[in-house]
């Protein structure tokens, strides 16, 4: 069944359509989840079921042409949450970055942050971008990335450092711009 028809059928409440999409995408979803939380089959299947349940409840949201990517995104986020239930810190290189916060209003503009992140990613060159996304988005370990793309762990870490710098520059720049916008909005001037 073509994805667009399956999604429309799900919106009509057709469980068979969901079952067909599970048949089609379960291997991919499970692979994404397994890559993040490890190989305990019961946990992987539980998270995968959460992913397809989310699809059932949000069948109007994905672009039918990009359903695989949509499911991959949900799988990644749910697997990340599952992993957080087990460990306080994800096994990532310097996951936290420090961003200056000058006013509460800056937190409210989430759309700007999304744009800044996308700009930062576009500013990265390959393979830096792939390494950055594999690590911080796909939550793959440095060793796993190094093994898969045939690069030393030191080289992977170096590229992650460059990526973090680019992201920070874009976010801070965005914060600064936002600050100025807020000051202008409230009739103030940044001094």
């Amino acid at each position: 069944m073509i994805d667009i028809f399956a999604l429309k059928a799900i919106l009509r409440g057709d469980e068979d359509a969901l079952v067909k999409l599970i048949d089609k995408y379960n291997a991919y979803v499970c692979a994404v989840v397994r890559g993040i939380i490890g190989g305990i089959a019961e946990d992987v299947e539980e998270v995968a079921a959460d992913v397809f349940f989310a699809l059932w409840n949000n069948a109007d949201k994905p672009d039918p042409q990009k359903l695989k990517a949509y499911l991959g995104g949900i799988a990644r986020n749910k697997a990340k949450n599952k992993l957080r239930e087990r460990v306080d810190d994800l096994p990532l290189e310097e996951d936290c970055i420090l961003i200056e916060q000058s006013s509460p209003e800056t937190n409210l503009i989430a759309g700007d942050e999304t744009a800044a992140v996308k700009t930062a990613l576009l500013a990265m060159r390959e393979p830096d971008r792939e390494i950055f996304l594999r690590h911080y988005y796909g939550l793959q370990t440095v060793a796993a990335i190094a093994g898969e793309i045939k690069m030393s762990e030191a080289a992977v870490k170096q590229r992650l450092t460059r990526g973090r710098e680019k992201l920070k520059i874009n976010l801070i720049g965005e914060e600064t711009d936002r600050e100025e916008t807020n000051f202008r909005h409230f009739g103030l001037r940044n001094v």
Partner: protein, 356 residues
């Protein structure tokens, strides 16, 4: 302000994620779990039924089912033994074609087929959702064929229509392929039955190789009953009982009547212990007071006490006796090593089998 990069990237869609797809992912289990969540989300909007009431219903059903099947087998055996019915003649008169003979299922040979030893067919899970029942089976043994044909019937059809001789030649089978790696097969059944009997035919050998029985309680028109109760896996455990230990008591069974229900919250296994009495003299008193609790001794040395649940007396010409039912919330009946009852220890017989 500290922010996690991994959280900041939540807004990104990365297409495609560079992963190696896992071909061994258990799609059936994901389907079962997903559909369980769908049904649970619906059930939360329905009228609340106390869990104890549901358990009582399940217990009653299980007890009734066991009694019906036991009565049928006893009655059939009695009729055959006394010569009232000659099943051989009945079969021959119906099935003149010799080739049809292997496809005939009778109340006598159900157990024979189930225990033929050619293939061990184990029910892993079953779940009803909306219009369908989803069943997962594990098939082990030698010479497992590529695919199996399932002829599915409901209990009522078997019990009241064609119990003594069920031809499977003209039935439209549900065909399923067996995954060679997981030795599992899945069925999607569109019939709405209360109890399914799946007669399994090996299309290569042209003969029946197994019987699988499972029960579902499903009705889209009665929301409260929209759940599935499944006799899971090798669900009956037999314990050795010395005949003269108690004059009346002959058998003790542990029966797993738990399994998948529509609501996700019912995942624990409920074990009932039936104490059957098949003696001919009757006039007995079951020792069901609190001093005669049933105590399970587990393989790790710990003990669990079962609660008295119900007592039932039978009184018909072919059978006089009754059954005591004890129930307990317990997750793994296979871990039970022995049962203590009335101060006597009943060791578990090292065999398990499916069937009632």
């Amino acid at each position: 302000m500290k922010k996690r990069i991994s959280d900041i990237l939540d807004c990104v869609t990365y297409n495609p994620m560079p992963v190696r797809e896992n071909r061994e992912a258990d799609t059936t289990r994901v389907k079962v779990l997903t559909l369980s969540k769908l049904q649970a989300s619906r059930i939360t909007e329905r009228r609340y039924v106390p869990k104890t009431a549901r358990r009582t219903r399940r217990r009653s059903f299980a007890a009734a089912l066991v009694c019906v099947l036991a009565a049928l087998s006893v009655a059939t055996a009695a009729l055959a033994a006394t010569g009232v019915i000659d099943f051989g003649e009945v079969y021959n008169s119906i099935f003149r074609n010799d080739k049809a003979a292997p496809y005939v299922v009778t109340s006598d040979n159900i157990e024979e087929i189930a225990n033929s030893g050619e293939l061990d067919i184990k029910l892993i899970s079953a779940f009803t959702s909306d219009k369908n029942a989803y069943v997962q089976l594990e098939i082990t043994g030698e010479n497992i064929p590529e695919e199996l044909f399932f002829f599915v019937h409901d209990e009522e059809y078997l019990a009241f229509s064609e119990l003594t001789a069920l031809p499977l030649t003209d039935e439209a089978p549900v065909i399923t392929r067996i995954d060679k790696n997981t030795v599992r097969a899945e069925l999607r059944l569109t019939q709405h039955y209360f109890t399914y009997y799946a007669f399994v035919k090996d299309p290569e050998k042209e003969q029946l190789v197994g019987v699988v029985m499972f029960d579902t309680v499903s009705s889209s028109s009665v929301p409260d009953d929209a759940n599935a109760m499944v006799f899971t896996g090798q669900w009956r455990y037999e314990f050795d009982v010395i005949d003269d230990l108690h004059g009346e008591m002959r058998d003790v069974y542990m029966t797993d009547i738990g399994g998948h229900e529509g609501a996700v919250d019912y995942s624990a296994t409920e074990v009932c212990i039936y104490v059957f009495d098949l003696s001919e003299n009757g006039g007995f008193d079951f020792p069901y007071d609190s001093e005669n609790a049933v105590i399970l001794r587990l393989k790790d040395g710990s003990t669990v006490t079962a609660r008295f649940a119900s007592i039932e007396y039978w009184d018909d010409p072919s059978r006089v006796g009754g059954a005591l039912t004890y129930s307990i919330e317990f997750t793994n009946p296979a871990e039970v090593e022995s049962i203590s009852f009335c101060g006597e220890v009943l060791e578990r017989v090292e065999r398990t089998y499916e069937g009632a």
